[in-house]
Symmetry: C2
Subunit: 328 residues, 2 copies
């Protein structure tokens, strides 16, 4: 479901319209009454099918959007998240994770949440990814990847002020995230020998120390350690040269040192087709690469491309894991 006051509901309806014939089939954990009202409000031709268990979703998918009902205790006002919905938002994620852990679904896709109203309701996690890590961590580190047709990036630091993000960089942190990226590229993306490009922090990657020392002190030692682990890591690359078409042809993922070093090129290049993938969980989880967009919620103008890409990528990863298990 995600935040009901945001664009998640209308994106779900739009995604069903686009995928009902071709698949992949999906169901949504949401309030069926509010989705029916939303479809009517936006004149979207989408029948709602209430289901009691995931296995019912596949059969009805071509004729109706399968909804596993979740009751919202208060009416939804577009653009106005309410603390009264927080419990349901959190419950929807928990139910989805349980289904994935028990094998009833092959993957979960999460619509965006509005963190502030969840915090007000006592939600103890900084965000989606940390909550999912608590519920379904795998053996290695969990990492966030933004994957689009033109670029895959993994930010080593994410939701921290930029000053703090820089201060928190360490050899261990870069190595841990790069190892997670390497494992996921093999397991989930079917790349036998992934090439990782590690970004520098400073302009021109520090220009030999003249423009900063983190490259020599932290990034280069991390690359040496990764190479010793047999990982094809290169760098530290000048950040501004790393995202040109020629540079992108030379790696499978860029390991970035802070949020915007990763997200600026990802969104500039692949805005509507980029997907957020959580690497290193026991389950498969993807998410559209945008927020709740409160300013346009309920208008029917939100673009479902990223949600559709997230659904497709989730199924691709799930199938690859399944076929790997069969081979093994």
């Amino acid at each position: 479901m995600g935040e009901p006051a945001g664009i998640g509901g209308e994106l779900t309806l739009a995604a069903w319209c686009l995928l009902r014939e071709s698949g992949p089939a999906f169901f949504v954990i949401d309030d069926p009454d509010r989705l029916e009202a939303l479809a009517a409000h936006l004149s979207i031709k989408c029948r709602i099918a209430r289901i009691g268990h995931p296995h019912e979703a596949t059969n009805c998918f071509t004729s109706a959007l399968p909804v596993l009902p979740l009751r919202l205790v208060a009416p939804v006002t577009f653009g106005r998240p309410s603390v009264e919905h927080a419990a349901a938002v959190i419950e929807a994620i928990g139910i989805a994770v349980d289904f994935a852990l028990n094998g009833h679904v092959s993957a979960i896709v999460t619509n965006p949440i509005q963190k502030v109203s969840l915090y007000q309701a006592g939600f103890p996690h900084p965000g989606h990814t940390e909550f999912l890590t608590a519920l379904a961590a795998g053996e290695g580190e969990v990492a966030m990847m933004i994957a689009g047709p033109r670029l895959r990036v993994v930010p080593v630091t994410v939701h921290q002020p930029l000053r703090e993000a820089i201060a928190s960089l360490s050899v261990e942190r870069i190595v841990g995230q790069a190892v997670a990226a390497d494992a996921a590229l093999r397991r989930d993306f079917g790349i036998a020998a992934p090439r990782l490009a590690i970004a520098g922090l400073n302009p021109h990657a520090g220009e030999g120390g003249a423009l900063g020392t983190e490259e020599e002190d932290i990034v280069s030692p991390a690359i040496v350690r990764l190479q010793a682990l047999g990982i094809k890591a290169s760098g530290p690359w000048p950040p501004d040269a790393l995202f040109t078409p020629r540079a992108r042809a030379n790696y499978d993922a860029a390991i970035c040192l802070y949020h915007d070093q990763a997200l600026i090129p990802a969104k500039a290049l692949d805005v509507d087709a980029a997907v957020n993938v959580t690497l290193g969980l026991k389950i498969v989880r993807t998410s559209p690469d945008h927020g709740v967009a409160l300013d346009i919620a309920g208008q029917g103008v939100a673009d479902p491309s990223s949600l559709v890409a997230a659904l497709q990528l989730a199924v691709d990863i799930a199938e690859r894991r399944k076929s790997e298990r069969h081979v093994a």
Copy 2:
């Protein structure tokens, strides 16, 4: 000329081949013997015409590359900048600026320089832009703009370690650079009421203080001050959302807070067509948006697109300034 051991020479030859018929006409301040040898080495059909004064360039341009001779005192080895060439590199810039200040040329375009060998020769300026500022500053602040077909960016801080760049941000610095950008967009780009998008520093532009305070402490007050000056400034915008196609439609230039916040999207989106423009000088100066590329110098594989775009933009700006003067 720029650094003779880099790709500047072959780019100049290639640009002449591309522009000899259509223009804009240009001449190069360089060693004619080394350019002749370079053309022969790369099998580029480019005749060299030695000229004694800029006014001779236009007449011969269709049949030969006009070269105002400058003697290099030592042979050039591709990829190996030599301190022995530093004086000539610096002299070429000085001559070009003099011609522009005296109205003998309408604009100057600088090939990339290798700073380290200039420093070794006692060059006291951090780079090209600072040298040009010393020679030809205008009345307001000087700023650097990267201008491409899809994006114009002005970085408020440039060649500093990222930590220092953040620490050096101030309301005054943002206002000064934004004012320079606004003036240049009017004067040099013919935009009557430029729209400036001011980037935030932190992820999600600080998310109301939760992810950093520079937006509230520095960026927002700068925007208020700019608006009070009658400048159409907006922001602080979340950096990762600022460079999508939809966002770019809403501004004429993005004012960025650090080097890579500006250069990552500029190079990702407009790699071969982006041009470096120095705003706020008395003269018109552009430069290709790349370095000396020592690794590929002398191979004939360097792409002249950015130099060609720099030549074209220099002429466009010069014509606009000239017609403004006539109107005035």
